[in-house]
């Protein structure tokens, strides 16, 4: 056997294609890096974190510098103390390693600190200064350098890498996992090629406004969520809410909005910044923020767009009835009926029952039912059937009120 045949075989094996495939993890990583926030990738060894970073560096047009933390010594990051001729006069300079010098000379680049968790504690401590203060020895890394770190989950880490709460609070934590489908297809010869999200210059002011409304609106409603130190063992080492991480979340929401990223990507970013519980609640708040304003619906009941999803549509109709209850006027009451009839035409008649019953209860003596109400007859029978089967409550009350109105 000659090596040239082996080379031929290797060439054949390396001949793979790529296909376009949306990748939420990569989108989230790109946005966090673009927003210039330190990212920490948590993932088991060997699942393709390094390959992803190569793709990211290509996409952002940045040269990639990979530093394997576990094979370095603390002085490689804190700077090597060089004893000069007269330390008392000149001091002891901390000499930076070559990769840092090259990064500073280039002015830009993607610094990937791999295997953070297998490095001894002293190395980790030295590295954190690199990540947080961007200092390597006497050098300061330029602003054009973006930093990503990777660590193994603490359950699989051999030694005790664990972030203290103040450090955890400074990172965007992204959980990295492989997709079964991607791996199987990739080994079969087709690897995914992700299209990185790009920021839309026209949407920047809108994005900032949206992010501020979301975070401020949410924190106004949930003041206890502003600052919450992790109190149990399960939350240690992970993201938690504080004014600093809320500021990071605000930045990420603005970036995700300007890039038109999906809600799933945004959810990964926000949960990785303020923690799972608060992150999920912000996402729920954003979800409701997207719903049309009841006042707009009442002003233009014939043209408003209603969502297909039943639970959202019901939330809108409940808000509508509530708005009419706040300021009961004949025209508003009529407009609300129009919206209810429109919702009925979209299907799922059971959604309309409870708002219709509540709206009927708001009727004043001199208000006559609008002619549209005829179309709500199926709702009455629906409510009666469910009511007859359950208890008489809702159905009877509704049909009584509607009958009286007629």
């Amino acid at each position: 056997m000659t090596l040239s045949v082996a080379t031929d075989l290797l060439t054949l094996l390396a001949d793979t294609r790529t296909e376009e495939r949306p990748d939420n993890q990569l989108d989230a990583l790109t946005l966090a890096v673009a927003a210039d926030l330190p990212v920490l990738l948590w993932g088991e060894p060997g699942i393709g974190k390094t390959a992803t970073l190569h793709q990211l560096a290509d996409g952002l047009g940045l040269p990639l510098t990979t530093v394997i933390a576990s094979v370095h010594e603390p002085s490689d990051f804190a700077g090597l103390p060089i004893v000069g001729d007269d330390p008392a006069v000149q001091g002891v300079p901390m000499a930076p390693p070559d990769w840092a010098v090259r990064l500073v000379r280039a002015g830009r680049g993607l610094l990937f600190l791999d295997e953070l968790s297998t490095a001894p504690p002293a190395v980790q401590a030295a590295l954190l200064r690199v990540v947080l203060e961007r200092r390597v020895g006497a050098l300061r890394l330029p602003d054009g350098v973006r930093i990503v770190a990777a660590a193994n989950p603490r359950s699989s880490a051999a030694d005790g890498w664990e972030l203290s709460p103040p450090l955890a609070n400074r990172f965007v934590h992204l959980q990295w996992a492989y997709e079964h489908e991607v791996v199987v297809r990739g080994l079969g010869g087709t690897w995914p090629r992700a299209v990185l999200p790009s920021l839309d210059p026209g949407r920047l002011p809108e994005a900032v406004d949206m992010a501020r409304r979301a975070v401020c609106g949410f924190l106004r409603a949930r003041p206890t969520m502003v600052h919450r130190l992790p109190d149990t063992e399960t939350r240690r080492g992970g993201p938690w809410p504080s004014p600093r991480s809320w500021d990071m979340a605000l930045r990420l929401i603005a970036f995700a909005t300007a890039a038109g990223a999906s809600r799933e990507v945004l959810s990964m970013l926000v949960r990785g910044t303020v923690g799972d519980g608060p992150g999920l609640e912000v996402m729920a708040f954003l979800d409701r923020m997207d719903l049309p304003d009841p006042e707009h619906l009442l002003a233009e009941p014939h043209t408003a767009l209603l969502p297909e999803r039943g639970d959202l549509r019901q939330a809108i109709m409940d808000g509508l009835v509530e708005a009419v209850r706040q300021r009961p006027e004949r025209s508003r009451w009529d407009a609300a009926w129009v919206v209810l009839v429109r919702s009925l035409k979209m299907g799922a008649p059971d959604l309309v029952v409870s708002p219709a019953s509540a709206l009927a209860a708001l009727r004043r003596a001199d208000w006559v039912l609008p002619p549209d109400i005829e179309q709500l007859t199926p709702v009455l029978s629906l409510s009666e059937r469910a009511g007859a089967a359950l208890s008489e409550r809702a159905g009877a009350a509704l049909s009584e009120r509607a009958g009286a109105a007629r």
Partner: protein
């Protein structure tokens, strides 16, 4: 099923019945209303009864609606939405991956196990159980288990054909059916939207806990605070304590590094090992069972070995009202524990700290029914706390065990 033959669309009468049933279900289980309304109905002639896919579409057979009474339909609505809320498809997939259960028969077992998990606790209290719903008692299994536990206990021959009445779709076990529309069709909920629906239901349950049965309250608690594997947590706590600065493997400047030879003007630290000494204080009072202690102790020994501790550096102190020093651990099986009365862990702490050389880490395994030392010892402390249901002491009904002190890291073991 009646002989009407497959039809694609619901008649007006059937549609009304189907939606009236959903209304009924939402009235009977108000905390599930968000989830019920989030389901999107897809009329399908090929689905056998009613089924859900993981994208929150609900497939409905018109013939099934025609043949089923309204109250039973309400029960089926709740049944199907429960599959989705309890993430049976995700759990089914994980189970399939972990145990290699990829065959069609395995999926059927998963569907039945998921049905058992649902049917033994969602009905009653105004919501009748639909006719033909499978129940664990039919195959002599206890109620109240999880899907995973039922799968393990359902052997291939315990279920008969009659148990396969409900094919609940990929929402129940993760296997895609031929009649499903797949991820690209209309009216799907993505993962993020599914999480939010779950959160809203959980919030509705915890907001008015009196109205929801215990099973649902426990579910809501898990959605909001998902449980963590205690072995991982205990391991992380001990590892972190045992490799803190000063212990374990770290760089020191007390000796020059070997690299110094080739870098004459540079001062380099060298890597030194300092294996941690671990003292394990074990509560041997009557309230802690041997199995619990055994599994936790093995865990501690394994972890301290993994962080570089030698066996002779792990010492065990058995402690009830007095402390007994047990010889260093030499084999994992060779630990004999004495004691069995009441507990006073202060004695155990004193004993563990008085050994020379002093330990770097003290790990305490207890159920917490004990007084704690008043001041913080000079080393790191990890407390493995066995969870206990609160029992009222009849002699002293106001007694509450003192929680472990704030200077210790507490891992709850259950």
């Amino acid at each position: 099923m009646t002989g009407t033959g497959p039809r694609a669309a619901l008649t007006a009468e059937e549609g009304e019945k189907l939606y009236a049933a959903r209304l009924y279900a939402a009235e009977a289980r108000p905390y599930l209303a968000t989830a019920l309304f989030a389901l999107r109905v897809v009329e399908s002639p090929t689905v056998p009864t009613m089924a859900v896919d993981r994208y929150w579409r609900c497939y409905v057979s018109p013939a099934f609606v025609a043949a089923t009474p309204l109250k039973d339909l309400a029960g089926v609505w709740v049944h199907e939405v429960t599959h989705l809320l309890r993430d049976h498809h995700g759990r089914g997939e994980r189970l399939a991956a972990a145990k290699d259960l990829t065959g069609r028969g395995d999926r059927l077992r998963m569907n039945i196990a998921a049905d058992f998990e649902i049917n033994d606790d969602v009905y009653g209290d105004g919501l009748p159980q639909p006719r033909g719903a499978v129940h664990p008692s039919q195959v002599n299994l206890p109620v109240g288990l999880l899907m995973e536990e039922y799968v393990a206990q359902l052997s291939a021959n315990t279920y008969r054909r009659q148990l396969a009445w409900l094919d609940c779709g990929s929402g129940a076990d993760g296997l895609t059916r031929v009649w499903e529309l797949g991820p690209d069709g209309a009216h799907t909920l993505n993962e993020q939207e599914r999480d939010l629906v779950q959160l809203r239901v959980a919030q509705a349950i915890t907001g008015a806990p009196g109205r929801a049965p215990l099973g649902w309250r426990r579910w809501a608690e898990q959605v909001i605070h998902p449980p963590q594997p205690w072995r991982d947590l205990l391991g992380a706590a001990i590892r972190s304590a045992a490799s803190a600065p000063g212990v374990g493997e770290d760089y020191v400047y007390s000796r020059p590094a070997r690299r110094s030879v080739c870098l004459p003007k540079v001062v380099l630290p060298s890597l030194r090992r300092n294996p941690p000494r671990v003292a394990v204080v074990i509560d041997t009072s009557g309230s802690v069972s041997d199995t619990e202690l055994g599994s936790a102790l093995l865990e501690v020994a394994a972890i301290s070995r993994a962080v570089g501790g030698r066996r002779d550096l792990v010492r065990v102190v058995a402690c009830d009202a007095a402390a007994h020093l047990v010889a260093p651990v030499c084999t994992s099986a060779g630990i004999e524990l004495t004691g069995g009365g009441g507990t006073d862990l202060r004695a155990g702490f004193d004993r563990a700290l008085s050994t020379r050389p002093a330990p770097d880490v003290v790990v305490v395994l207890t159920d917490g029914q004990t007084p704690w030392p008043r001041s913080q010892p000079a080393c790191r402390t990890v407390v493995g706390l066995f969870r206990r249901p609160r029992v009222i002491n009849t002699a002293n009904p106001n007694y509450r065990p003192t929680p472990p002190p704030s200077w210790s890291r507490v891992v709850t073991i259950n």
